[in-house]
Amino acid sequence: MSSARLGSALESLTIPVGALIGAMLLFGLFMLMLGQNPLEVYGLIYQGGFSSAFSWQNTLSRAAPLILTALCVALPAQAGLMIIGSEGALVLGGLTAAVIGHAMTGMPPISVKIAMALGGLLSGGLWIAAAGALRQYRGINETISSLLLTYIAIALFNHMVEGPLRDPASLNKPSTAPIGDASMLGNFPGLDVHWGLGFGIIFCIAMYILVKRTTWGFGLRIVGGNARAARLAGLPVGPLVLAACFLGGAASGLAGMVEVAAVHGNANASLMAGYGYAGILVAFIARQNPLAIIPVAILLGGISASGGMLQRRLDLPDATVLVLQGMAFLLVLASETLYGRIKLFKPREVAA
C-alpha cells in the first residue's frame, strides 16, 4: 500500500474513533454534572454491552435490524439521494412477509421462508423506488417524500392489520394471522441472535463490493457526485437512481421480514419500533459506507444494551443514552470537516 493510501485509511479510522472518544469524554462530564462517577458509568457501559458472551449477544441482537435499515439510507446516498423512509419500507416488508407466510401455511418451510424474504425485499424495494422515481421524474424532494411515504406506509399497515387482515383471535392486540412455528427463522448458528444479523452482514458486504468494486457501482457514484456530468457521459441516470433506491428499500423490507419471521410470528404494531429512524443515524456515522455500517450498528447496539444497565444500576432515565447517541452523532458529523486538514495523514511532499 502506498503511503498516500495508508494515510487516508488511517485518517478515515482515526477521525471517527477520535470523535467517539470525544463524545465519551463529554458524556463523562455530563454524568459528573449529574453527580455520577464517570468511571463507573464507563465501566457499566462496557459491562452492559461488551464484557461477556451474554452482553455481546445482547448488543448484536440490537444491532441486527439497524444494519439492514441503515443500508436503506446508505445505498440511495451513493446516487446522491437522501432517503429517510426506511421505517415505511420495513413495516411494508413485514406486512407482505406475514401475508405470504400465512397464505403458504403447510408448504415446505424452506419455500415459505424464501417466498417471505422475496416478498419483503420486493415490497420494501418498490416503496423506496417510488420515492426515487418521484425525485427522478417529478423533481420532488426525496427526503420529504420518503418521510411522508413512511406515514402512508404506517397508516396502510395499521389499516390492514386492524381491518381486513386482522386475526379475529387477536383480541386486545390486533395482529395478522400467525405464519406458524414451522416457517419461523431460527437463530444464527451458535448465537442467541436471529438470522437478521447474518442477512445484514451478507447484504452489507455484497453492497460494498457492488458499489466500490464494480463498474456499475462506479457509475452509480458518478451519478451521486454530479448527475449532469453522468448524463453527459452517457450513464443511464434514471435506472441507476431507481436501482439504488430499490436495493436500499429491499434491505429495509428484509429487516421487516426478519422481524416477522424471527421475532413476532405475525405482523403487528410492535414492528414500528423506530429501527428505520435509528438506521439513519447509523448510516450517517458510517459516512454512507456499506461496510462501515456493520461496526457502527454494533456500536449503537452496544450503547443501547448498556443503556439498560445505566437505568437499572444508577437509576438514570432512558434519555441518558439518547444524550450519548446525540453527542456521538454531532461530533462525528462535525469531525467530517477535519478530513484533509491533519498534516500527519498527508503524503509527505517529495523534495524537488
Binding site: F54, S55, N58, V263, G265, N268, A273, Q311
Partner: protein
C-alpha cells in the same frame, strides 16, 4: 445455544448450594438472608412519569423499593421487540432478578413466553389477561383488574357534573378492554340521567398526544363538558380539557395535579396489591399464582379523591354504588341491554358478573354511545 440454560441452572445450583452452606453456618440469619435475596425487575414500555399506564406500575415499584430486603431494578421505554427479551435476559443474568413484571401488553407473546422457557426458575408476572392454563408455562402468569367499575363510578360523577348532557370518551384502539370502559362510563352516567349521550373518538394508537388534544378540542366545540379516556397517558387531554374549562375524569393514575379546577375523580390502578402478593409468594417459595384478577373489592383498582367541583349528590350516589361493588354484588352489565345500532346484546334477565369471560370479548358500544367500533 441449547447449552446455555442448563449451564445457567447448573451455575445457579452451585450458587444456591453455596448460599445454603453459608446460611447454614449463620444459623438464625436464614429468613433475613432469604429476604435480601429477592431482586424484582420491572419493565415499562413508556416513560415512568407519564401520568398514566406506566406511572401506575412505577408507583407500585417505588413502594416495593421501600420494603426491607427487596431490591428493585427498573427499565423504561423498552419496545415490544427482541429488545424486551434482551432486557429480561439482562435483568436475570446481570442483576439476579427472579421475579419479573413485564408490564406492557405486547411483551407477553412471543417475548415473555420465550424467556420463560429459557429461564424456568424465574417468575414472570405479566399485566394483561393473556395467561391460559395448559397453554402457557407455569412460571408465567397474568394480572389484571376490573377497572370498568371505576369508569362506571366516573360516569356517575360525570352524569351529575354535565350540564349539556353530552360527555366524551377518547380511546386509543377499539379493542374489548377499551370498549368495556367506554360502555361502563356511559352506563354510569345514564344511571343518573338516561338522556345523556357519550361521544367516542378513537385516535388509533396508545400514545398520540397531538391527536388526543385535537379530539379534546373538537369535543369541547361540540358542547361536550365532561371527558375521560383510555390512552396510555391522559396527561395532554386532561390539560387541554382544563384549559378549555370543561370537566375531566382520570384514567390509569391520579391526574388531579394537572387540572385542579376541572378534575372530578378518576379510575386508578392499585398494582401494589398484586406486586406485594407475588413478592410474598416468591420469598416464601409458595407456588406462583398464574391468574390474578380483581376489582375494587380486591383492592386492584381505586378512585382518585373527589375534586372540588363534585356536587354532594354525586358523591352520595357514587359512594353508595362503590359500597355495593365492594360487597361484590353489583352487576354493571345486565339485560336488557342494547347496543347503539338497536341490537339486543344482553337479553332481559341475564346478568354478566365481572368475572364472566364473555365480557372480555366485548365488541359493541351500548345505546347512547355516538361512534362505531
Amino acid at each position: 445455544m441449547t447449552a446455555r440454560p442448563t449451564d445457567l441452572s447448573r451455575r445457579n445450583m452451585i450458587k444456591g448450594a453455596a448460599a445454603v452452606a453459608a446460611t447454614g453456618a449463620m444459623g438464625g440469619w436464614i429468613p433475613a438472608f432469604a429476604q435480601s435475596k429477592l431482586t424484582v425487575g420491572v419493565i415499562y414500555v413508556g416513560p415512568r412519569d407519564d401520568y398514566g399506564y406506566n406511572q401506575a406500575q412505577a408507583q407500585a415499584a417505588a413502594a416495593l423499593k421501600k420494603m426491607p430486603g427487596i431490591k428493585v431494578v427498573e427499565q423504561e421505554k423498552v419496545p415490544e421487540t427482541t429488545d424486551v427479551q434482551k432486557t429480561m435476559g439482562s435483568m436475570i443474568e446481570q442483576d439476579g432478578v427472579t421475579l419479573l413484571f413485564p408490564t406492557s401488553f405486547g411483551y407477553f407473546d412471543p417475548h415473555m413466553l420465550r424467556m420463560a422457557e429459557k429461564y424456568p426458575k424465574v417468575r414472570f408476572a405479566h399485566c394483561g389477561g393473556m395467561w391460559t392454563s395448559g397453554k402457557h408455562p407455569a412460571n408465567t402468569g397474568s394480572y389484571f383488574g376490573y377497572i370498568d367499575e371505576c369508569q362506571y363510578l366516573n360516569g356517575i360523577v360525570a352524569g351529575y357534573a354535565s350540564k349539556t348532557k353530552k360527555i366524551g370518551f377518547i380511546a386509543a384502539k377499539p379493542i374489548p378492554q377499551v370498549l368495556r370502559n367506554c360502555n361502563a362510563f356511559l352506563m354510569g352516567a345514564r344511571s343518573v340521567d338516561p338522556k345523556i349521550t357519550c361521544q367516542l373518538i378513537v385516535t388509533g394508537d396508545w400514545s398520540l398526544p397531538v391527536k388526543e388534544a385535537e379530539a379534546t378540542n373538537s369535543m369541547v366545540d361540540q358542547g361536550i363538558d365532561v371527558i375521560t379516556s383510555h390512552v396510555d397517558s391522559p396527561k395532554v387531554l386532561i390539560e387541554t380539557a382544563e384549559k378549555r374549562g370543561i370537566f375531566s375524569c382520570g384514567y390509569h393514575a391520579n391526574q388531579s395535579a394537572l387540572a385542579p379546577k376541572g378534575y372530578l375523580t378518576g379510575a386508578e390502578w392499585n398494582w401494589l396489591t398484586v406486586y406485594e402478593q407475588h413478592v410474598k409468594d416468591a420469598i416464601a417459595g409458595a407456588p406462583f399464582k398464574n391468574f390474578v384478577r380483581g376489582g375494587l373489592k380486591e383492592g386492584f383498582v381505586k378512585m382518585s379523591p373527589y375534586g372540588k367541583a363534585v356536587p354532594d349528590a354525586a358523591k352520595k350516589k357514587a359512594d353508595a354504588t362503590k359500597a355495593a361493588m365492594m360487597k361484590g354484588d353489583y352487576v354493571i352489565f345486565k339485560g336488557p341491554l342494547k347496543d347503539n345500532t338497536g341490537k339486543e346484546v344482553i337479553p332481559a334477565g341475564k346478568s354478566l358478573v365481572q368475572t364472566d369471560p364473555v365480557l372480555e370479548q366485548m365488541n359493541y358500544l351500548v345505546e347512547g354511545v355516538v361512534g362505531k367500533v
